[in-house]
């Protein structure tokens, strides 16, 4: 187990280093001079020269790359062009909001997705199965930003029950105890619902396939032949064995989930990494864009390692494979 963790952590470090390298290369491959892009067309040549020197752009590419890596590891990610704040502080303030939203929606969409998939498997081929299949395909196809707008239309403007923007109300600082928690939950409701609804579509589709695959295995027939009741076969033999593929999907679906979170954060003005990144891209705030890319890779890699640990815990064969490797 420890050995597997160690291997996974090494791969994670390699991936994050790769992303940091990629952002560096892309920034230099893009047309135009970074210093001129930073300053805009009205800059005087002396200003451009000064910024070029400050950013070390006048030094060889390898030297620039080494210092970029060094500063990244130290957490010195420069200052934002639009806000003037240190990029590190901006992202340190933003990442918990993203992690909370993504983790909660992951948990909910897995629970619901497994439930829907299990119901479909139990009623395989029946009308209920078909109806649920149509529903999950539709959920899977929904654009997150559009679903978010529709939910705002319904819950904020028509029913007037839930807030549409931000992570806390304007009066949050004056609330105490339960009122404050309730306020935060009300703000969380719509972004979480949007992300979860889309997630359920994908997870339920995968869960149904995984469960049906296990159901076709000989040991299921053996259990039935032994006289094990159908509900016990589903719960003990089928669900338990479908958990492995489900946990592997967890790791694979993290990047897509993170992409979805970027859009949902933008729609609901949720103060997370995704919104910071979109705003930075729109205002061409390069230091923030670079660092946000690296932080999102870091979050995805951390989530992937967590998913691997869970998969090893759920399936002894995965543990064995890691030991032999």
């Amino acid at each position: 187990m420890l050995r597997m963790l160690w291997q996974r952590a090494l791969v994670g470090v390699a991936v994050v280093t790769g992303v940091v390298t990629l952002t560096f290369l892309l920034l230099h491959a893009a047309p135009g001079d970074p210093a001129e892009r930073l300053l805009g067309p009205a800059a005087a040549p002396q200003q451009v020269e000064a910024v070029r020197h400050a950013l070390e752009l006048d030094r060889p590419l390898t030297v620039q790359y080494a210092s970029w890596l060094r500063r990244f590891v130290r957490g010195d990610w420069g200052t934002s062009i639009t806000t003037g704040r240190p990029v590190g502080a901006m992202l340190r303030a933003a990442w918990p909001a993203t992690a909370r939203l993504v983790a909660l929606s992951l948990l909910l969409s897995y629970a619901l997705g497994l439930l829907v998939g299990a119901v479909q498997t139990a009623r395989s081929g029946a009308r209920l199965d078909t109806t649920l299949s149509v529903a999950t395909v539709t959920l899977f196809a929904l654009p997150g930003f559009w679903l978010g707008l529709v939910l705002i239309m319904v819950f904020t403007y028509w029913l007037r029950v839930l807030p549409a923007f931000g992570a806390a109300g304007m009066d949050a600082d004056f609330l105490s105890g339960w009122a404050r928690i309730a306020d935060q939950l009300r703000h969380l409701a719509l972004p979480l619902l949007t992300l979860t609804l889309i997630g359920v579509g994908g997870t339920a589709r995968f869960a149904r396939g995984a469960l049906l695959d296990v159901l076709a295995q000989p040991f299921v027939a053996a259990a039935r032949a032994k006289g094990v009741s159908e509900s016990r076969v589903l719960a003990r033999h089928v669900l338990r064995n479908a958990l492995g593929p489900m946990l592997i999907l967890l790791g694979l679906s993290l990047p897509a989930l993170f992409s979805g979170a970027v859009l949902v954060e933008t729609v609901f003005a949720w103060p997370g990494v995704g919104r910071v990144m979109v705003e930075a891209v729109q205002s061409r705030d390069y230091p923030v864009v670079m660092a946000a890319t690296a932080v999102s890779a870091l979050l995805v890699v951390a989530g992937n390692i967590l998913a691997d640990v869970l998969a090893a815990w759920a399936d002894p064969r995965v543990r064995g494979a890691a030991r032999e490797a």
Partner: protein, 279 residues
């Protein structure tokens, strides 16, 4: 069994209808998707109304008095075009990388696989945002960038298939007859490895259409005033209460087309791979 046929039928019907409408756009609509007339008199007309000039608007008008139906149909050109072209690029790169990684041995294969896994671990939208920040957004950039960020799953699929096929007797037979390695790969292995690629391509088109809409919604894809479903949703965002149809129409169109692509992909997988037919 009957469900399978209905899925393919639904998917093909929807995609064919949208494609025909997109190609015949000038015939089925009022013409110019960016046409604005008397803005004050013609803006925010609800669906199924006619304006002062007697022009009928089946889906109403937006904040500039532009006909939503016309923009929807011209937007389909962008959505389908971008989706298809991006997937063509993805399939070309993915098949090449996957075939090379599956057929080569030693460190070149390892390197290609490691690079694929690395690219697969990144959130695609984050990469798209990064590229959109560095280059000027345009439809062509969206196609290239979607193509360059979508090949990894296809490479993994082709790699798996090629590895499995390379040890089969008919490949050994071709080698024994003296066929060169490149010819064996091109004529004997690749044609047999394409089944999962076709399925992945159908699903990939839906995904690419969604991502194009997302980018255009953020203002980083197809630029206004060109009609795109994503930018139409963005332009209706501020008038959600007064004119919900501006946001609703392109959203439903997106869902319909992506559902059609997904169902078509599912049906293709079941038809081409009998082993998975029970799904």
């Amino acid at each position: 069994m009957r469900l399978r046929d209905r899925r393919a039928l639904f998917g093909l019907t929807v995609l064919a209808a949208v494609a025909i409408a997109a190609i015949a756009a000038p015939v089925v609509t009022a013409g110019n998707p960016n046409a604005q007339r008397d803005i004050v008199a013609t803006r925010f007309l609800p669906p199924l109304t006619a304006d002062l000039h007697g022009t009928f608007h089946p889906l109403g008008t937006d904040r500039f008095g532009r006909d939503v139906w016309t923009r929807l149909v011209y937007g389909a050109r962008i959505s389908l075009g971008v989706g298809l072209l991006a997937v063509v690029i993805s399939v070309a790169i993915g098949t090449t990388v996957g075939a090379a990684a599956g057929y080569l041995r030693g460190w070149p294969a390892m390197g290609l696989l490691a690079f694929t896994d690395f690219a697969l671990a990144l959130p695609r939208l984050v990469l798209l945002l990064l590229l959109a920040a560095l280059w000027q957004p345009s439809a062509a950039l969206v196609v290239v960038v979607l193509g360059l960020t979508g090949w990894m799953p296809i490479a993994r699929l082709v790699h798996g298939e090629v590895r499995g096929l390379a040890v089969r007797p008919f490949v050994e037979g071709a080698r024994a007859l003296g066929a060169r390695r490149a010819r064996v790969l091109w004529r004997h292995i690749l044609p047999n490895a394409l089944t999962p690629v076709i399925v992945a391509a159908a699903l990939g088109v839906g995904n690419a259409i969604l991502l194009e809409a997302s980018l255009s919604y953020l203002g980083l894809g197809v630029q206004p005033p060109t009609a795109s479903w994503g930018s139409m949703i963005a332009s209706g965002r501020d008038t959600l209460v007064n004119a919900p149809w501006v946001v609703t129409a392109p959203g439903l169109a997106l869902v319909l087309v992506v559902v059609a692509c997904t169902l078509l992909g599912d049906a293709l997988r079941d038809a081409l791979d009998p082993g998975a037919a029970k799904r």
